[in-house]
Each structure stands twice: as C-alpha cells, then as structure tokens.
Symmetry: C3
Subunit: 136 residues, 3 copies
C-alpha cells in the first residue's frame, strides 16, 4: 500500500495532463504489478482518460460539454457562484471522480494513445487536489 498526492493549479476550464505525475508516484511506490486508483477531491473538476496526440480532441471534448451543459442554463436553481457553477457539477458527474489504472512491470500500463487528464470545469483558476492510492 502506497499513497501519493498531487496538486494541480488550473488556469480555468480545460483538460490538464497528469499522466506523468501519476507515473512518478507509481515509480516511487516500487510497485511491480498492481492497481493505481486516482481520485479527485472536488465536485467541479473531474478525471478522464483520453487521447494524448491531437490537442483538437481536448478542444472538441470541451466544446461538446459546453454545448451539452450550457453555462447560465435557466433550468438551474443553484447559481450562487455564477453561471458556470452548476454546469461544473453536472460535467463532473457525467465524467469520473475516480479511475483505476493497472500497473505492470513497475510501470503505469496505459494504451499507446491514452493519457489521464484532470478536467477543470470552472472558468476561473483553482487548486485541485488528487490522491493516488497504490495497491500491489
């Protein structure tokens, strides 16, 4: 059992690649084969695994969610923190709060095109805490 933490300082809405940070925690754990479970401690930021090559994929993901869950939608009652407040909660539950990743031969075993992203759903900058729990 090993535990690592990371903090991401976001500059506002968008995806932030945290694959390398997770890989470092896996390396520091000394685990050979096992499971790394990533967890984000927030309800307006989330986790995804997505394509790591073409930045247009991340642009399109954000364009899609922005259209699906529009900021300022009159459907929403919870608007205390602004137009992007409740959309951020919806976007979070439609994606992931935790993801379990395999560790093999001492390394995070992702597909060739996979990266792990923190998805900041608020339009303003935030500090986001992530815990990686390693079982091996």
């Amino acid at each position: 059992m090993h535990r690592g933490e990371l903090t991401v300082s976001t500059t506002g809405r968008g995806t932030y690649d945290i694959t390398r940070d997770i890989a470092k925690i896996v390396a520091a754990s000394g685990a050979r084969d096992g499971l790394a479970t990533v967890f984000v401690h927030h309800t307006s930021a989330s986790l995804i695994v997505s394509e790591n090559a073409d930045p247009d994929v991340r642009r399109d993901l954000d364009a899609f969610l922005a259209r699906l869950v529009p900021d300022g939608d009159p459907l929403f009652v919870h608007t205390a923190e602004g137009d992007d407040d409740m959309p951020a909660h919806v976007r979070s539950v439609l994606t992931q709060t935790s993801i379990g990743l395999p560790i093999h031969a001492g390394k995070l075993e992702l597909g060739t095109w996979q990266a792990v992203y923190l998805w900041e759903h608020r339009t303003s900058p935030h500090r986001r805490k992530i815990t990686v729990t390693i079982v091996s």
Copy 2:
C-alpha cells in the same frame, strides 16, 4: 481485505447520501490507509460523488438528467417496465456503477464538499444493494 454491504430503501427517483454508511464500514474495517471501492448491484440506479451543502445541486442534477434522457422518449424500444425503465438504464451508464475512494489515517478521505450518493433512477421505490470492498 474487508467487505461491507448496505441496503438503501429508496422512495423513488433522486439522490440518497450514503457517505456516513460507507464511513462506518471503513471504521469497522480497521483500515489505516487504503482504498474503499463502492459498487451498486443494479442497472437502474448508480453512484456519484457530488456537493454536500446546497440541496439545490441535487435538484438541478435530477432536472438536468430528466431533460437529457426524457421519460417516455419514443426513441426507446425497451419499455416493458414503463416510461422510466430505459431512461433509468441510460442514466446509469452516464454516471457510475463503481467509485474508488481513498482511506487515510483510518478515515474516508473525501474533499470538504464531497458526498457519495446513490442515485435512484426509477420513479417507484426500490431496495438497492451496495457492496464496499476495502483493501488496506
């Protein structure tokens, strides 16, 4: 390795806070650091982590999903159990069947504003079984 079960008797569609029940299972396990994986044994109810403060957030989450996946949508062929049957399956796959939560210093380590909810997607009451698997 420790295993706990809980049953939630729902009164129909909506979110039910199960954070305290999960925390009790974590406490009973005696785990200091580890991972608690929550799993719901159904395909028309699911799990989310969301805001624990303003009940309007949960109202808005349900309003959003009700608009995104309308009951009685003529798109659906599977209507054997009623207008809310197939929407419940869709709502379940768009949210989570399992969530992995970190345990630290003997406690469930959630963010300040996070709670874990069972989301009942059927309009009528159901008994829902949840298993919590603890690795430490």
Copy 3:
C-alpha cells in the same frame, strides 16, 4: 495480486458482453474475497455495466448515444479518422474506462441483471485490449 488480459475483436459499433471472460480470470486467480478492476486500453471504446436480459436495452443505449453525440457533427475539428472518430472519444469519456467489481466467495459478485460490456464506439472492427487487476 493477480493480473489477466483479454482481447475483444469487435465487428464495429455496439456492446460486447465480457462478463464470462472476467469471471474466468477471477476463477483462475483463486481469489476468495477481493476486488477485480477492469480497464480498457483505448480512447474510442469503453466499459459499462448494464442489463443482461433484453437485447433491446443495448440497442436503445446505442440509439441514445448516437443521437446525443452525432457522427459528423460540424462542432468537431478532430475528424482525421472519419465522422465517427471524435464522437467515439466523447462517448468514451461519458461512459467508463475502468470499473471496480467485488469478488465474494470466489466469484464475481454482480447483481442478477448485471453484465459487463465493452462498448465499441468506432463503426469499423477493432481489436480491443482489456486488463483485469485482481486484489485479494
């Protein structure tokens, strides 16, 4: 700690039941109680737990996602591999890349109506790699 791999040769878009394959890996591991975490090594195929009885449920799930994330949507910039390329990435992040399943008394402990599916989001056939990590 036990690790198993499976490969699914898909014939194009749709859901593929992998429950039996996962159960075999659980049986081979000799685990009595524990956790099986399933992970798909791709960004245009994903995992869900859904109903195992009426095939119309799977037809309706695909019809819903096809309407929600239309192929050829002019919103998308990333179209290098065709009309279904970016929709496949969106469909993947709206569902799951990993799912944690409980093992009890030597068996995968799913609900009566639950099956685990690989969801192929591309319209053409692909070979998909899945890793099952077992902790017990």
